[in-house]
């Protein structure tokens, strides 16, 4: 399903950016923008969110700990390799340690609901020679007796090498006053180096005036160093053997680990969705039969509701029970027609992306397609006018009418001549209303559209002009922000059902409120009274 335009129209990302899974796997899942059309699956997700919400509310300490462990999970390099290196194994171990801790913290109900279990104690113990449940990893000598013996020899050799070097550096310090304890070399003026013993000090030219001096270490040191090199080669071979052994153990549990990753995605996304549900007091959507209509009780369009909080203005949630699947929305400019469409689109996207919704009730069905048709929000297609773009989108949407489709149509054809535009909208209403698979919300300024069976007409209540007039002070110079706030205060963003005969003339009042000059307002009113009743 292509939901790009609808997402842009409803500014979905302002909400989605707050949705924050904690693991790299959860974040990858988030970036896939999954939209689900399987009703059973969605109901199961809503139910799981309910259980996680209860779990978080009742077990705040455990849920904080679970989130701590989720945050610590890193993305594995790969499981599709014959031999893993130390960092690959570290990542597997870290995943197992944290997943095990998460499973321990979940209650039985959540474990059963999500079918989460930890079955890899044996593997984890094998990876934990350096300490159980420690996230870090190193190729311990415990894995292989030969490796242990080899490392012991290296350690002994290092000790002897350090002793020889220490003794020689001390000798040089005593004899020549050169301190090489913190330096591998010293740069000194040529003039002071003449008496230095060539058995103790190696000299080479540094620049025109200086020599570079290095301590000469005894032959015994270099012989031992050679032995160390051989031991290191042997160590490397033995480490490879250990890596192969560990890799075989991991590969044997590959399917189980992959299942853990799936469970991590599930748990991580459910926790993130549940946190959102708690923050915004969300509820599970009610999914009904595809033939039924949409109902919203106190539905909040969060991108706007949050903006209103920031601007200290009132936000009016949406309350509507639509009695047909083809609905026409009319009303004033700035009256909330578009916001109504956005609210429906926002709620529907949340529903089908497996979120709860910010409402007291949201009754809807699952749509196979969701289309927004209106102003081009993305880059203009070259050569295509606004009207052309709308027609292009409508044509594409119609191709989907075989399956359940939601259409959000915002002020269709507003840029073309009003007579033909009205005719096309009338034709669209007639066509849509005859199709059981189509649920459409059409906002428009055109009044007196023809009536059809199964088409309902609604209008936004609009500006409460009598209340507004009591408050408005003609003498005061209002700023644009104050004027918008004034309109917002007296605009009634409520939807009421109409009989399609209701006329709305709020445009002049809005223009007046926004400061259009008196002359134009007066001429407009004169024109209206001369040409209309």
């Amino acid at each position: 399903m292509n939901i790009k335009d609808t997402m842009q129209f409803v500014e979905f990302n302002t909400f989605y950016s707050e949705y924050a899974p904690l693991t790299p796997y959860g974040l990858l899942d988030k970036n896939k923008y999954h939209v689900f059309t399987d009703k059973k699956m969605l109901l199961s997700v809503y139910s799981s969110i309910g259980k996680i919400v209860s779990f978080i509310n009742e077990n705040s300490f455990e849920s904080d700990k679970i989130e701590y462990h989720l945050k610590r999970i890193s993305h594995l390099n790969t499981l599709e390799r014959k031999t893993f290196d130390s960092s690959d194994i570290f990542l597997v171990k870290k995943l197992l340690v944290n997943f095990k801790s998460i499973v321990k913290l979940l209650n039985d109900e959540a474990k059963e609901d999500l079918q989460i279990n930890f079955l890899s104690d044996e593997l984890l113990n094998f990876l934990s020679y350096d300490g159980a449940n420690k996230e870090t990893f190193y190729l311990s000598a415990e894995y292989n007796t030969e490796l242990a013996e080899n490392r012991k020899k290296i350690a002994e050799t290092d000790k002897v090498l350090a002793g020889i070097k220490k003794e020689r550096l001390h000798e040089i310090l005593k004899q020549h006053g050169l301190d090489f304890r913190f330096r591998d070399f010293i740069i000194a003026s040529e003039s002071i180096t003449n008496n230095f013993s060539s058995e103790l000090i190696y000299k080479e030219v540094y620049d025109k005036t200086s020599l570079l001096l290095k301590p000469m270490l005894p032959k015994e040191y270099f012989d031992l160093h050679k032995k160390r090199e051989a031991l290191l080669l042997e160590e490397n071979k033995l480490e490879q053997d250990v890596l192969i052994t560990i890799s075989e153990k991991i590969i044997a549990e590959k399917a189980v680990i992959k299942n853990y990753i799936n469970k991590i995605v599930l748990l991580d996304t459910l926790f993130a969705k549940s946190r959102m549900a708690i923050r915004y007091k969300m509820i599970a959507p009610v999914l009904i039969d595809k033939k039924a209509t949409i109902e919203v009780v106190n539905g909040q369009y969060l991108p706007l509701a949050n903006k209103c909080v920031r601007m200290d203005t009132t936000y009016t949630p949406l309350n509507a029970e639509f009695d047909n699947k083809t609905c026409v929305i009319t009303g004033s400019n700035m009256g909330g027609k578009t916001v109504l469409l956005k609210t429906i689109g926002f709620m529907q996207l949340l529903t089908q992306m497996g979120f709860w919704v910010p409402a007291q009730k949201f009754k809807t069905s699952v749509f196979e397609n969701i289309h927004y048709i209106g102003e081009d929000l993305s880059e203009k297609v070259e050569g295509l006018s606004s009207f052309g773009f709308e027609i292009y989108n409508l044509t594409n949407a119609i191709k989907d009418f075989e399956t359940n489709t939601l259409l959000l149509i915002d002020e269709f054809a507003k840029t073309t001549n009003s007579i033909e535009a009205k005719a096309i909208i009338a034709a669209m209403l007639k066509s849509f209303s005859q199709k059981e698979t189509v649920c459409s919300f059409v906002s428009t300024h055109f009044m007196e559209l023809p009536e059809f069976e199964k088409v309902s007409f609604y209008k936004m209540k609009g500006l409460d002009y009598s209340e507004y007039k009591k408050y408005y002070n003609k003498e005061k110079q209002y700023s644009l922000r104050e004027r918008i706030k004034l309109i917002n205060t007296f605009m009634r963003y409520e939807i009421i059902k109409t009989d399609n005969k209701d006329r709305t003339y709020d445009a002049i009042k809005i223009a007046n409120t926004l400061g259009l000059n008196d002359e134009i307002i007066r001429y407009t009113k004169e024109y209206l009274s001369e040409n209309y009743d």
Partner: protein, 290 residues
């Protein structure tokens, strides 16, 4: 023990920045680490994949970085596997390099290690944040790329050593570079705009280049830049500009020392040049000099 260096590095994030390739950063890193280990277990890493083939303190093939038991190292997984030292993997960062993902490892057995790091300033900041916040490692040294100081700006409250190699052939331009860095690193930081005492502040976002000088209003009292790495002017331009107005930074950084590596030049001659140019900065001479 060189207590001056140790005190300056402990519990700080310090960049080693060089004036040119092979200026001696890695050699200085090795020296600084030997001093630090006397008091703390340091963490160190580099920026990018070091393409420098040799080091001009030595003029020899690039020195290896020697890690001792207890050190924390950030490098690629491949380098960890190749090293003769032994490591415990503590964290794998989600950043890939051509030589594998970057890892944080603790040294269990001393040895040589080749450093590979991220060139991305954001990743660099995230690595430092991880070391500080998750692993509580507070002494961090970053072997910076040559001729670039922009990485310093990626970490708040960081310090830097400017390692400058001077030789007779390029003494004039090198001295000018030193004087420019000395001058621009002195300008103050302004945390809040209120600190400007009603003066007229003009902010330039991004780099201050010669072409942007004409944008600065005549009546400007303070020219605000993000940090000192945004100045792309030569000494005479900076001197002229700072004579007309105050230059300030949103993010201040502290230059700890200039580390001067002299080549084909006597220390006495260099001291005379410093006196002639009124340079009073703290100079740390090549710690490898007798």
């Amino acid at each position: 023990m060189n207590s001056i260096i140790t005190e300056q590095l402990v519990n700080k994030t310090t960049f080693l920045v060089g004036n040119k390739k092979n200026a001696g950063k890695t050699t200085f890193l090795n020296y600084a680490l030997t001093q630090l280990r006397e008091v703390v277990q340091p963490a160190f890493f580099t920026i990018g994949i070091d393409g420098e083939a040799s080091d001009l303190i030595l003029d020899t093939p690039k020195p290896k970085v020697y890690t001792e038991t207890g050190d924390y190292v950030v490098t690629s997984g491949l380098m960890i596997n190749k090293s003769d030292a032994l490591f415990e993997i503590i964290h794998v960062f989600p950043y890939k390099t051509v030589l594998g993902r970057l890892v944080l490892a603790k040294t269990l057995r001393s040895g040589n290690i080749e450093l590979v790091g991220s060139e991305d300033n954001k990743q660099l900041a995230e690595i430092v944040a991880y070391l500080r916040n998750e692993e509580h490692i507070n002494t961090i040294i970053i072997d910076g790329a040559a001729s670039r100081v922009t990485q310093v700006a990626s970490i708040k409250n960081s310090y830097f050593y400017y390692i400058i190699k001077l030789d007779q052939k390029s003494i004039n331009s090198d001295i000018n570079k030193l004087r420019t860095i000395a001058l621009i690193s002195k300008f103050r930081g302004i945390d809040k705009i209120e600190d400007t005492e009603n003066k007229i502040v003009f902010e330039i976002k991004g780099a201050l280049t010669e072409s942007k000088l004409s944008m600065i209003p005549e009546d400007c009292d303070i020219l605000l830049l993000n940090d000192f790495t945004k100045i792309f002017l030569d000494l005479s331009q900076v001197t002229e500009l700072s004579g007309k107005l105050e230059i300030a930074y949103k993010i201040p950084y502290q230059l700890v020392f200039f580390v001067v590596i002299l080549k084909d030049m006597m220390k006495e001659d260099f001291v005379r040049i410093l006196e002639n140019h009124n340079i009073e900065e703290t100079i740390l001479y090549n710690p490898y000099e007798y």
